[in-house]
Symmetry: C2
Subunit: 362 residues, 2 copies
C-alpha cells in the first residue's frame, strides 16, 4: 500500500502540479455530495461485515465510473497514520475519514481531482475539485459522476426531502461547495472578522485551511454553503458564487489600500518572507504557511515570476507535517521536521529570483 501512496504523492496532481492555471486570491473550488445506499444502515450504525459489504459495492461502482479514469483505491486500515494524514493534507480525504472504523476508504482518480470516500459519515462522499474559481465546471463534473454512480447504486432518496444523509444538516442536495480563498489583504487590514460576520449572516460558513476555525493559517479561508435543504443545487452555487465575487473585490480593494498607505510595511513583510524561506534552517508548519502566503501575495503584486504562485500552492500542501515526514522517510519529531521543512523550502526557493520591489502593484 506504501506504493500506492508513493505514486499519489509523486504524481502531478490537480492541486500540486507546476503548470496549473493558478490565479490570484482563489486557490481552488471544491464540491462534495453526500450519498447513502438505500437498505443499509448509516456507517456509524453498521456492523463490520455490513460495512465491508457496502465498501465492495461502492468500490466497484466508483472504479468503473468513466469520470474516475485510472483510479487508485485505498483502504484506511492498510495505511499508517502518516499516510492517512498525507491524504488529508492533499485534501483527498476528510480528517473524519481517517478516524473512522472498519470498511472505510477512498477511490481517487488519476489527476487527483476526484475522490470518493466510502464509509465516512455517509456511505459515499463524492468530491471533485479544481485549481481556481470554477463552480460551474466542478459542478458539471461531479454531477456527471453522481449520475454514473446512480446507475449502479441505489441511493437513499425521499421525494419530499431529497437525498437522505446520516446528519440532518446534509439532507436534501447533500451538496457542499467550498472555495478556498487567499485573503491576506483583509487579514492585514483587520477587515476579515467583519467579512466573516457578513458571510455568516447570509448563511455561508468560513473555515480555515484545514477546516479549522476562522483563525486561518496563511490567510487561507474556505467559504462554503451551510444549507442543503429547500434550494436547488444551481441556486446554492449561484448564491455562493455571488458572495465569493464580492469577497474577491473586497480583498482586491484591501490590497490596493495597503500598497497605497502602508507600502513599506507590506514590502518589508514580503521581503523578509523571501529571505527566511531562502536562508532559514528551522521552520514550523505555521510559520511556513504564513511566509508562503506572503510570497503568493508578492507574486500577485508582480514581484516574483508568474509561476511562483503555483510553487506556493504546491508548497502549501507539501510543507505540511505528514508530507515532511514522508520526505524524511520516517516519523520524525517536531524539531527534526522544522529543520527538514526549512531545507525543503531553501531547495524550492533556490531558483526564485529576489523580489522585484520596484514593480509592486495591484
Amino acid at each position: 500500500m506504501q506504493l500506492k501512496i508513493d505514486s499519489l504523492i509523486r504524481a502531478d496532481s490537480e492541486l500540486t502540479h507546476q503548470n496549473t492555471s493558478s490565479v490570484p486570491i482563489i486557490l481552488m473550488t471544491r464540491i462534495r455530495l453526500a450519498r447513502n445506499l438505500s437498505g443499509h444502515n448509516f456507517p456509524n450504525h453498521s456492523e463490520v461485515e455490513k460495512s465491508a459489504e457496502v465498501f465492495e459495492l461502492c468500490r466497484k461502482a466508483i472504479e468503473s465510473a468513466p469520470e474516475m479514469g485510472s483510479p487508485t483505491t485505498v483502504r484506511m486500515e492498510d495505511l499508517s497514520t502518516m499516510e492517512k494524514k498525507i491524504l488529508v493534507e492533499r485534501h483527498l480525504v476528510s480528517p473524519e475519514l481517517i478516524e473512522s472504523t472498519a470498511g472505510s476508504g477512498v477511490v481517487i482518480n488519476g489527476d487527483q481531482s476526484c475522490a470518493v470516500m466510502i464509509n465516512e459519515e455517509d456511505h459515499l462522499r463524492i468530491q471533485s475539485m479544481l485549481t481556481g474559481f470554477h463552480l460551474d465546471k466542478v459542478w458539471s463534473t461531479i454531477d456527471a459522476l453522481d449520475d454514473s454512480l446512480e446507475k449502479k447504486l441505489d441511493f437513499a432518496y425521499s421525494e419530499e426531502l431529497g437525498f437522505l444523509t446520516a446528519c440532518p444538516s446534509n439532507v436534501g442536495t447533500g451538496l457542499r461547495a467550498s472555495v478556498m480563498m487567499h485573503l491576506p489583504g483583509l487579514v492585514i487590514s483587520k477587515n476579515m472578522e467583519k467579512v466573516i460576520r457578513a458571510v455568516n449572516q447570509i448563511g455561508l460558513v468560513v473555515r480555515g485551511w484545514m477546516g479549522e476555525g476562522s483563525d486561518a493559517s496563511g490567510s487561507v479561508f474556505q467559504i462554503s454553503n451551510q444549507q442543503t435543504l429547500g434550494e436547488s443545487e444551481e441556486a446554492i452555487l449561484k448564491r455562493l458564487g455571488n458572495v465569493l465575487k464580492t469577497v474577491r473585490v473586497q480583498e482586491e480593494n484591501a490590497r490596493s489600500r495597503i500598497l497605497q498607505t502602508d507600502q513599506n510595511r507590506i514590502l518589508d513583510r514580503i521581503g523578509r518572507a523571501y529571505g527566511i524561506l531562502r536562508n532559514g534552517h528551522l521552520l514550523s508548519s505555521g510559520e511556513g504557511m504564513s511566509l508562503l502566503s506572503l510570497i503568493r501575495l508578492g507574486a500577485d503584486f508582480g514581484m516574483f515570476p508568474k509561476d511562483t504562485r503555483c510553487l506556493v500552492d504546491r508548497l502549501f500542501i507539501e510543507s505540511q507535517p505528514a508530507h515532511v515526514q514522508y520526505l524524511a522517510e520516517s516519523e520524525i519529531e517536531s524539531a527534526a521536521r522544522d529543520s527538514l521543512r526549512a531545507s525543503f523550502m531553501r531547495k524550492n526557493f533556490r531558483d526564485i529570483p529576489e523580489p522585484d520591489f520596484e514593480s509592486a502593484s495591484t
Copy 2:
C-alpha cells in the same frame, strides 16, 4: 561647519574603512586619559570667558602635536544636534560632551584614531583607538600624545595622587582603557551574566555598545578598568589584557558548543539575519544591530567572505540613528529612518553572497 562633519563621515576612518584588520570577537581597543590645566577651574565650575580661554590654549597645543596629523577641530556650539550625535556614534566624543556648556569641542586627527575632547568633565579627555586588540600599541600612541601635550600645557598634578580630575574616580592615572568585544556566543548560551559578575568582581566594568547598561545591543560589550589610583598604567593594562584574553577564550568555547549542540538554531538565525538585511524594508536601529551581530558571527564561522566583518563593523556605526538622518540629509522621524536604514542595508548587502552553511565551523 557642515563641511567639516561631511569630510569626517566620508573619510576612511580607523573604525569604518573597508580594509581594516578586523578580527573575530574583538572590535576595537580604546584608551583615554583625563587631564586638567593647573590654575583653571574644572569645566563645570568655570565662567564662559574662562572656558573659552581654556579651549584656545588646549586647541593650539593639540593641533600642533605631531600625533594629531591633519587635525579637524570642531566646536560643539557650531553643530546641529544631528551632527553632535554623529560624532558620538563614531566614538569620537562622549555623550556627555554634546550636553556640555560653552567652550567645549574636539580635535580629531586625520584617520580619526585620536580625538581630544576639550571642556568635557575635565579640560582634556585624550583618546586613542584602534580596530582589533592592541592595548600596547594604543598605549604607546596615547602616551606619546600625552607627552607632546604636556610640553605645551601645565597639567594639574599632585606628587601624592597623580593627575587631578574633576571626578575623584579618575584621579591618579586618569586612564580608562576599554576593549569592545563581540560576545554573541556567551549571550546565546546565556552565560553573559555570569561573565559580567566575574569581571565586576575583579574591579572591571562591563558596558554596552554606547556605554549603556549591560543589556548590550548586537551582543557588543565594552570592558574597561574602573580603578585609576594606586596602580601604574602598565599594571592596569596588563590586568585588563589578561581578563580580556580569558573572556575571549570563553566566547570561543561558547561558540564551539553552540555549533556542536544547537547548529540548526544558530544557522537559522544567521540565515534569517542575512535574508532580512538583504530584503527587508523596515529596520529599527536595535534590530539592525542584532542582525549585523549575527552576520559578524557568521563571518567568524567562515560562512561569509572575510571582508564581510569589516562591512559589519562599518555598518554597526553607519546604521545608527544620526548617521541614517545624515543619509536623508535632514532630520527625519523614526519610521522614515527605519525605511531608509533598511534600504541602506539592502544596498550594502547587494554583493555579499548567500551564507555558505556547509562550511560553518569555529
